[in-house]
């Protein structure tokens, strides 16, 4: 490899390195500005407070959910905790169960 060239044949446009340096400086300044905007004391404390309250709400919600299910060991227990989808007053239910026509006339006829 001794006879191979080691000098660089690459050229750059005039003023390229000054221009590139300027672009890098600008990009750094822009990112510093946006970082400092994010890090303003007022904004930082506001975000800290928001994060704190979101955390508290999350914890309370999780504890409620856990308590609702923790005591149940059976499906019957879970079923009782469900809101009934159809609200039927007790007296209506009793009246319906005592209805002889349903149990004696209709059901027994089929047996």
């Amino acid at each position: 490899m001794e006879d191979m060239p080691t000098s660089s044949p690459f050229n750059v446009p005039d003023g390229f390195f000054d221009d590139q340096r300027q672009r890098i400086r600008q990009r750094l300044e822009e990112s510093e500005k946006s970082a400092s905007r994010f890090n303003q004391p007022a904004r930082r404390s506001w975000m800290r407070a928001a994060a704190f309250w979101i955390g508290i709400i999350g914890v309370v919600f999780s504890v409620q959910q856990w308590n609702a299910h923790a005591a149940c060991q059976t499906y019957a227990c879970l079923l009782e905790q469900q809101e009934p989808s159809l609200n039927v007053p007790d007296d209506m239910l009793e009246e319906w169960l005592d209805d002889g026509a349903l149990f004696d006339d209709i059901l027994l006829d089929d047996v």
Binding site: M1, M4, P5, P9, F10, V12, R25
Partner: protein, 194 residues
Amino acid sequence: MMPKKISNDHDAYEQPDWLDGMTHSNPHIRSKAFEGFMNAWQQPIYFYMRKLLVNHQDADDASQEVMIQVLKSIDTFQKKATFSTWLMTIAYHKAMDAMRKRKTHSWVSLDAANHAALSHLNEDALFDADEAETRLQAAISTLPPRQRQVFVLRYFDEFSFRKIAAITGKTEGALKASFHHASKKIRANVVLPA
């Protein structure tokens, strides 16, 4: 224009006096440190990328990305490695990304790829070389990304295999094998017709 070579001399860059100034709270000291960093590294990083990517615009973009990342993450540099090794590790990965993005199709033969590279170089207004240099650069640009990096770091920048291993995270043995394969391919392309 004679480009600056990446220094392999440890004393030249291991303890740059501007390094501490880059994280200083005083903006004037930081600005001076920025100039010190750019004076030392802007051209070596650009020409490193140019040798790998050939195209000026690609080298401009990639070298800019390296310097931005170095300047943004300088406070994470823990001085466990030398500054030049840390910086070159960033440059190595950025160059790898750039080369993979432009990867040529594997079904293109080596001869066809070499021919395409030669014609690109001959059309490039910012490339000024004799036939031997043009053939050398064309041959380098057809190497696989890792071989290309190892070849450039070893052949042009004269880095030791130990230093290249620290930059790339590969073993010295693997790097020597890569360099051997790269040299063989390049020799085959650079031999001028009688």
